[in-house]
Amino acid sequence: MLDQKKAPLFEALQKLKYDNVVPFDVPGHKRGKGSPELTNFLGEKCMEIDVNSMKPLDNLCHPVSVIKDSHELAAEAFGAAHAFFMTNGTTSSVQSMILASVKPDDEIILPRNVHQSVINALVICGAIPVYINPQTDKRLGIALGMSVKDVIDTIKAHPKAKAILINNPTYYGICSNLREITKIAHANGIKVLVDEAHGTHFYFGKDLPPSAMSVGADMAAVSMHKSGGSLTQSSILLCGENVNANYVRQIINLTQTTSNSYLLMGSLDVSRRNLALNGVEIFEKVKAFSNYAREEINEIGGYYAYAKELINGDSIFDFDTTKLSVNTLDIGLAGIEVYDILRDEYNIQIEFGDLGNILAYVSVGDKNKNIERLISALYEIKRIYKKSKTGMLDSEYISPQVFCSPKEAFYAEKKSVPIAETIGEVCSEFVMCYPPGIPILAPGELITKELIEYITYAKDKGCVITGPECMDISRLNVIRRD
């Protein structure tokens, strides 16, 4: 047992301030003195610890002292065999676990509602995705988890698959049967990789869905900066005991900067300590906020703030009650429209709105009065903006038709075509709404009329569409097949 009250890297940074070392190394702002305007903006405290790796601070690329100790504390706190601090977001954690687990032409099983970072990793490494279409909820218009039967069938059809990737939970808070899927995958020699970008709290809270490491998964990408309280862009990659952590480190070093930010790493160390010591209390508070808001929002009528009643034993095996996802279709407004009204009219910024839902991110940093404001604003939006439901797109998950691998499609000879004329072509780029950043089209997928209608509708409702080379999404790149 290690002492979770310790925070070796954080303490080393505090000592550095105290020691007053004369800096003749980078960064050139030299503890902020060379950039007075920036120092005035961020504060001296912040600039003083924006330093480069040095003897007392260890080196993330090859950790041997304080970073190594901090990694070990993090591993213990998360119940993992090994933990890595990551400085390029959970995108880098997700990509590292994929690159560490599959090689070119290996098959990897994925639900199609993965974050773009997953498919990006496949463009880089050339592994072949085998998609499991997630079950969908027609009323809510969202993709759910994977059904165990679909996983078994897919493994039978692809016995050589090397890995399976699972969202735990989805952005909306929905969990698959992680324990069972892990068991089945391991019985077939398949590695289990878990995207826990939205599940940091599963490791520390009470009565929450199981975490990846607790069910024996091989690797997990954890967004500490979401529910964990660390700085934006900081993340943790966890490895189970059957993973060669030294190989994972080599994979991370393929793309990771050698000038890692001590602000980010220090924030991971101190946040881990806070979660290990106070996690139960913190997430009880978050759950109470979300549960309260859900009850109040459901009382308004017209909104549906969903939770555990959705559980169906399979594709919705569990629900993360810290999430506050609200369906808005019954008031005749798309989620993205409610998102815009909240922002523009009520000065309330929520996490995202899609075509049928909004997600308000609730955390330990919230205050009662702000929760009351959100609920009251939703009352007002219903009173002032409610419309007839007719004309609302009723389901938003469209099963993709995969023509070739993302890598093949991304690097193929391509041509740019006006979007209306792309039906029947194979897309060579991503198209997605951001957030949530789940691809509508990924490289290598067939473009259908339904997809074009969906993209046009989403654009019309005010979704921010990202991915294509053409910034206004009037054209798409398709594979040249002539």
Binding site: I375, S376, E380, I384
Partner: protein, 283 residues
């Protein structure tokens, strides 16, 4: 002993009052509450170090926030008061026999307790049997009400404390919904003078006019509030504060006041030019 209480009215201006003794000083779940005994102003209630009322000048605030709407609509029966944990608004309202119920929604029960003990001059208002005291977040209370009240009085603290939610668009919109078709909302509208207060005033006004078509601002002079120049908002779905003033009817009620009278009622809506201009920019 030379003991002084000071409150910053702006970053570089402060008001100081000589204190005889400190009668109470504790933190509730929401704010720091203190009561000071002074020679000039009698007992003073402060929340988070800001003067809420003094025994000497509270009549100005409480009369102006209450009698203005009551002189416009004589049929007010159901009243909602948000904030007002000192009881001053209730005291003024209780002078009207025609009122049937007074719901007072105060977030901080501790304020009421303290006022009952140290500020009986205002807390006497709570003794009226038409008063229902409800300890709840005002925003939460009002959003569940629909077409129910004739008058809503928003007696809030400054927007920097727990009163922040009472300066939001969603709050004013929910008040609009809670009012009947001829309902009136009166709100404490901050001061136009110092920059920070003026900012709060402008914000509030901008958000009120988004919900109420008719919204007028009136003024009073309250010595212990920053700059002494204080504003109130009169918003209604139906009534105009001057055209619909029932001066004769109100005077016939023979209600005893020390600040308010029906001439002042009309005069209080005539504002300094710089204030008019500020308000116009937000309409």
């Amino acid at each position: 002993m030379d003991l002084w209480f000071s409150e910053f009215h702006s970053k570089t201006v402060k008001l100081s009052i000589k204190v005889e003794t400190q009668l109470y000083n504790e933190s509730s779940n929401y704010q720091d509450i203190a009561v000071l005994k002074t020679k000039e102003f009698g007992n003073i209630l402060t929340l988070d170090g800001v003067i809420m009322l003094t025994e000497r000048d509270e009549f100005i605030y409480h009369e102006m926030i209450t009698h203005i709407p009551m002189a416009v609509n004589q049929n007010i029966k159901k009243v909602l008061v948000i904030g007002a944990g000192d009881g001053g608004v209730a005291r003024e309202l209780s002078k009207y026999k025609t009122i049937e119920s007074i719901d007072i929604v105060e977030i901080d029960e501790q304020v009421v307790k303290v006022c009952k003990e140290f500020l009986p001059q205002t807390a006497i208002g709570f003794e009226d049997e038409r008063v229902n005291l409800i300890f709840k977040d005002g925003l939460k209370f009002v959003r569940k009400k629909d077409n129910e009240y004739d008058l809503i009085i928003v007696d809030s603290t400054d927007p920097s404390g727990p009163g922040e939610v009472l300066f939001t668009k969603e709050f004013y919109g929910n008040c609009y919904k809670a009012l009947k078709d001829d309902g009136i909302m009166i709100n404490q509208h901050e001061s136009p003078f110092y920059k920070e207060d003026a900012k709060a005033m402008n914000f509030a006004h901008k958000r009120i006019v988004q919900s109420f078509k008719m919204s007028r601002v009136y003024q009073a002079h309250i010595p212990t509030y920053p700059s002494g120049h204080w504003l109130f908002g009169f918003s209604s779905k139906k009534y105009h504060p001057i055209r619909d003033l029932k001066a004769k009817e109100w005077n016939d009620l023979k209600i005893k006041t020390n600040y308010y009278n029906t001439n002042l009622h009309v005069g209080s809506f005539y504002l300094p030019t710089y204030v008019e201009e500020m308000l116009k920019d937000n309409e």
